[in-house]
């Protein structure tokens, strides 16, 4: 440990820590625009400059390591003037439409301008109106609002290993663009939306489905039903100002009913269903010499990633649809039949932590008899918008329970919201399927947590099963390299597109950071610890669904409704 001085106060610091890290820990918030947690500094925005004694120029604190005895001043008039000038320069080049901007009140440029006391920009720049890219089913790009901080570019490349977007041109003519400046829809974009979460302004937003959902809710000819993903109940409250790590499942169900949904189902139920199918598929592949390692297919960013970058591994993907699509399919078959409804008259909405789910719902394979499994997908953010639009709030409602027949879930299904959760749920059921007995210890510690890659070896019936868990697709490249160069000890691989899993998805609240993701993960694990129904195969509603409708896992009806296929995808890159 070394001693440094920040604004006259002595602070302990580790060597190689940056000034920014030390200052923030000491309770001194230095503003940043281009900084991304856990990524190497870029030093582009210069917002984090500070004065360091002995240095002539101002020092970018995000990129500068502390040294023993260093004396830092973070908010001198010189520093504040520099930051204000940068904010003014950006504002000179930014549309003045805050009042109706998608990120009003959630915009870092807006917050910073307020914080720095910018009341008027001394500068004006001639702006050329640039075209919006609305080609993607998941993401809208508005280059007019882009401040070129580069966070999206770095996340896309360094975290997700996709590189669908990059800087185009140079100097004041720089823009962020795709390969050959074509639409995002034909690029290698996997629709994960991590770029949206890190974007400080409204240059990147989700393709909103709010309007079409409102229209459907007001259509007397439609029966609107809704499902909510496992991670929504542990993040929604943050949109209303609560601390990270609050589970508001019951209140959310109540609010969804108030919005006008006739039935509120739980995607964690169909996560249990997915496990029944997927664990059966795994057991089948292991026992009959199928393609291994089997890889999960719940994360639509990930499946597109495989289709475009690793088509030779398409056979490794589980043929199971994702929980969203499985539930969509049984809503428009089993539920429709049971309630005597025309599937065409059911409007099925999914609340998802994810922008890629919008893409997935629109995949041509995801339908039955010409009717899409899922009609609209709202992200956590859009659900919050809808709740506010209807004049509702979490405070005004009492908790309610979900509807049958798809409202009961095991905690295994709920764990789908966090990295390692699918694996843990699958292990519990696969063990049961292979041995007829429950695992002595249901918790599989080795696959939990925020590590980008986790692995474990399990012995079931004397057979050693190798499992790996990946989150953040940059890490998936590593795993594929290993498998390509001959690694063969793995049987089952869980991949979630976003780092930490769906709790950190591209549809989650703006302002998501690592500390919040950890807390959300803890809540999911807490739910698993506290509740009694902890295995998918133990879910009575799942059993009922198989008895009354589906038959057996991997059976004919399951095959038709719950399984799909993937295909090689040609994209511009």
């Amino acid at each position: 440990m070394i001693q440094v001085e920040i604004n006259g106060r002595a602070v302990e610091a580790r060597e190689n820590e940056t000034i920014l890290e030390v200052a923030r820990r000491a309770g001194c918030n230095i503003p940043t625009l281009c900084h991304v947690e856990n990524l190497p500094p870029s030093g582009a925005c210069r917002m984090c400059v500070v004065e360091v004694e002995g240095s002539r120029a101002l020092i970018p604190s995000c990129a500068y390591p502390v040294s023993a005895g260093m004396k830092v001043k973070t908010h001198t008039s010189r520093v504040l003037e520099a930051r204000r000038t940068i904010a003014e320069l950006l504002l000179a080049n930014h549309p003045n439409d805050c009042t109706h901007c998608a990120r009003n009140h959630k915009c870092q440029l807006q917050d910073l301008s307020a914080e720095l006391g910018v009341r008027d920009s001394a500068y004006v720049a001639e702006r050329q109106e640039k075209k919006l890219d609305i080609s993607s089913p998941s993401i809208v790009r508005d280059p007019n609002k882009c401040i070129l901080c580069g966070r999206c570019v770095r996340v896309c490349e360094e975290v997700q290993g996709v590189s669908a977007i990059d800087f185009v041109g140079r100097g004041s003519k720089t823009t962020i663009g795709t390969a050959f400046n074509q639409g995002l829809n034909v690029s290698s974009c996997i629709n994960c939306g991590q770029c949206i979460v890190v974007c400080p302004t409204a240059a990147l937003t989700e393709q909103s489905h709010v309007a079409r959902v409102v229209q459907a809710l007001n259509d007397p000819g439609l029966t609107c039903v809704v499902q909510h993903a496992p991670s929504i109940s542990v993040t929604l409250a943050e949109e209303f100002g609560a601390e990270a790590g609050s589970d508001v499942n019951g209140k959310m169900v109540a609010l969804l009913r108030r919005l006008g949904f006739k039935k509120v189902f739980d995607t964690s139920f169909s996560a249990d269903l997915t496990i029944m199918e997927e664990a059966s598929e795994l057991v089948q592949r292991i026992t009959t010499g199928g393609t291994l390692p089997m890889m999960t297919s719940c994360s639509p960013g990930w499946t597109k990633f495989v289709e475009q970058f690793y088509p030779e591994f398409i056979g490794n993907l589980s043929t199971c649809k994702s929980p969203q699509q499985m539930l969509g399919a049984v809503i428009k078959s089993y539920f429709a039949q049971r309630e005597n409804l025309d599937p065409k008259k059911i409007y099925s909405v999914a609340i998802m932590p994810c922008t890629a789910k919008k893409f997935e719902a629109g995949r041509p394979e995801m339908e039955g008899n010409g009717v899409p499994d899922v009609d609209a997908v709202l992200t956590t953010r859009e659900l919050a918008d809808l709740i506010r639009m209807y004049g509702l709030s979490l405070d005004g409602v009492e908790a309610e329970t979900a509807d049958n027949p798809f409202g009961t879930r095991s905690t295994a299904g709920k764990l789908f919201g966090a990295s390692g959760g699918v694996m843990e749920a699958a292990i519990r059921t696969a063990h049961y399927l292979l041995t007829g007995k429950e695992l002595a210890e249901l918790k599989v510690e080795a696959v939990r947590g925020m590590e980008g890659r986790k692995e474990a070896k399990l012995t079931i019936n004397g057979v050693t099963v190798g499992v790996a868990v990946v989150n953040g697709l940059g890490k998936a490249h590593e795993l594929f390299d290993e498998i390509r160069s001959g690694r063969s000890d793995l049987h089952f691989v869980e991949v979630m597109t976003c780092p930490g899993g769906c709790i950190a998805g591209g549809g989650q609240p703006i302002g998501t950071d690592l500390a919040k993701v950890r807390k959300r993960m803890q809540v999911l694990h807490q739910i698993d610890r506290q509740e009694g129904l902890r295995t998918s195969h133990g879910n009575p509603e799942i059993r009922e669904l198989y008895e009354k409708f589906l038959g057996k896992p991997l059976g004919e009806r399951s095959h038709k409704l719950l399984h799909t296929h993937y295909h090689e995808r040609d994209v511009l890159r």
């Binding site: 582009a44 400059v49 970018p60 500068y64 001394a122 800087f167 140079r170 100097g171």
Partner: protein
């Protein structure tokens, strides 16, 4: 794209390994160091800047080209000795040193002995070793604008102060040298706002930019402002370019003694601004003149020239309407 330092290339450069980066000029010194020995080489130059320095001498000077001089040679020796002075008997105005982001040193400071420190003290720098000599026919605002254009187009766009700031500085320079006939009230306001904030902006670009380009980008403006503030003021307040270079702030006039009355300029003028009888000196109607310069190109007698707008107003007297 530049990346933040530290780490410097000498610690982690190419492939993350320690890397030494040298200019060709530095390497060209190595044979001399070997030949003369450290002491011998060190005896050339000044106390703090050893050896010789190559300058690319250009501009309003008789003999242009690459010149190598010992450090400590005065600028006057280089310009008037080696360079042979200013052509056409004109007066030297300043020497611009160090490339686009260097600075100007005015004529009365030319006795400075050139080394790294002395140039810095005067607001210039050794930089690339470029040395542009200017004379009284050079407009210093125009010169600053020229270099800012270069810097602006060289900005990579990564950091905000350089990308957006140099653009603003250039726009301010353009605004004060532009024709204001069509300027709206808000444009005038913005022009003044730009001028008022020019020094603050320059200071902050210098203080916060990521790489050397941005940190030195405001130099052309800061250095010309330091030594030739009056010229800026003439452009801004009198709307007149003292060197009669910025066309919008100059007037085109015909020197009667040189004009043969041939009528070529009358036919060349697309705006019908030139009048006159054959074989008698012609004259230009300033109300119609668009300052395109077509007449200057056609005149074979060099009878048409530009004069500062202020001088034109004075010579034409009080009957000229002054527009603000």
């Amino acid at each position: 794209m530049p990346r933040p330092r530290p780490p410097y290339p000498a610690i982690a450069g190419l492939f993350g390994k320690p890397t030494i980066i040298n200019n060709v000029e530095t390497l060209a010194n190595v044979p001399d160091v070997i030949r003369l020995g450290a002491a011998g080489f060190g005896s050339i130059g000044t106390a703090s800047s050893k050896g010789t320095k190559v300058f690319a001498l250009s501009g309003k000077v008789l003999r242009t080209g690459l010149v190598e001089v010992p450090m400590g040679t005065t600028l006057r020796e280089i310009v008037f000795g080696i360079g042979g002075g200013i052509p056409g008997g004109n007066r030297c105005k300043a020497v611009q040193i160090g490339g686009p982001s260097g600075g100007c040193i005015p004529e009365d400071q030319l006795d400075v002995e050139v080394d790294y420190e002395s140039l810095k003290t005067l607001g210039a720098m050794m930089g690339s070793g470029g040395m542009v000599v200017t004379d009284e026919k050079t407009c210093m605002v125009d010169l600053a604008k020229y270099f800012m254009e270069f810097i602006q187009s060289e900005s990579c766009g990564k950091c905000i102060p350089c990308r957006e700031g140099t653009r603003q500085m250039l726009e301010t320079l353009r605004a004060i040298t532009r024709d204001r006939k069509k300027e709206s009230d808000i444009d005038s306001l913005l022009r003044f706002q730009g001028v008022l904030h020019l020094e603050r902006l320059a200071r902050n670009i210098r203080d916060t930019s990521l790489c050397g380009l941005g940190q030195t980008a405001p130099n052309p403006v800061l250095s010309t402002l330091r030594w030739f503030r009056a010229e800026y003021e003439a452009h801004i307040f009198e709307r007149s370019c003292p060197a009669a270079v910025c066309r919008a702030l100059s007037a085109f006039v015909i020197t009667p003694d040189l004009c043969s009355g041939c009528g070529v300029c009358i036919r060349a003028c697309p705006h019908g601004a030139i009048v006159g009888e054959k074989k008698k000196p012609h004259s230009i109607n300033p109300e119609l003149c668009e300052k395109c310069g077509a007449c200057v190109v056609k005149c074979r007698f060099e009878a048409i020239r530009t004069i500062p707008a202020a001088e034109d107003l004075r010579t034409r007297g009080d009957n000229v309407k002054v527009m603000s």
